[in-house]
Symmetry: C2
Subunit: 209 residues, 2 copies
Amino acid sequence: MTNSANKITNQNTVWHEPTVFREDREKLNGHKSAILWFTGLSGAGKSTLAHAVEDHLHKLDIKTFVLDGDNIRQGLCKDLGFSDADRTENIRRIGEVSKLMLDAGVVVMTAFISPFRKDRQLVRDLVKQGDFIEIYCQAPLAICEERDPKGLYKKARAGQIPEFTGISSPYEEPEQPELVIQSGDKTISDCTDEIIQFLEQSGVINVPR
Amino acid sequence: MTNSANKITNQNTVWHEPTVFREDREKLNGHKSAILWFTGLSGAGKSTLAHAVEDHLHKLDIKTFVLDGDNIRQGLCKDLGFSDADRTENIRRIGEVSKLMLDAGVVVMTAFISPFRKDRQLVRDLVKQGDFIEIYCQAPLAICEERDPKGLYKKARAGQIPEFTGISSPYEEPEQPELVIQSGDKTISDCTDEIIQFLEQSGVINVPR
């Protein structure tokens, strides 16, 4: 910190550069920040897992935040619909917010279908290698459709939802995700453990033994 | 946390509700979260003060983040220009991101001219009373223009920037800001102290003595 005793009026001492950076926040927090990008079909367990992982991490004093439909579609992206262009813009904005949260020192988790490879790649390219952890929640369509927690598959089959991922719009599987979770048949607890283990092995967090 | 041992496949145990809330994060952090919304003319010292306050707070182990032109206009809002509609959308998005940061437990500071009352009111209305702390950086136009740290007033006077706040576009002063800072003639240090004192008095932070 410099020049704080100087008047802002003195043009030679105008000073508005940041002095607190991501690394400083990570040091204060005692853990690294990261983006855990959950992707997969509706019903694959993305939100469930993101919140279970958050619950686990919070108990370890780790700063977390989950971005999902509940806090994005009613807020930041409430002006967007579900056309291809709007879906792309939706993911772009979520990516930018994730990047800000990353800089803020938070382990941010996103739970969106995010069906298109190019959109996920765009987010990956926003940040440094290692910051974007793509977690593919791989569950067979049949299981997702059987779960149908929000009744969306039923509506989609009845033609009430156009362009529904897995039914009338494609889901492009990740080619090289950091983690594949078989969320169709494992327990929440087992899936969570796999993710925590990954975060530990990749040095994001240090789990006390 | 409940049901974590259950399979996600069992529809009766589908569980994706958050278990970690703002209050839990505030407890973990040891301070409340808040939005410090700096508003004022270009050159009034918004960014300078936001970063000086952040520097001060960070040294007190407080989780902070600054949103300003540098990390918003190149990212989340890079699709927006400077028409009235785009300015409004710009502030709306910044408001929504601030709200997310607030929920994430962070003392978030925003440094944007945000010249229109209705736009600032829209952000205020997004959050609970007390969460939105409007800080009016009140500096005379003549001083801001003299400082002209980015050379923008010069360009505006030469007609190279249409609708420049204070020159060819109005700045609507806050009617009831939480704090007015005379940033035209006080030192950065004095301005910072006033803001820290306010945060202490309003219970956002506890400054150790």
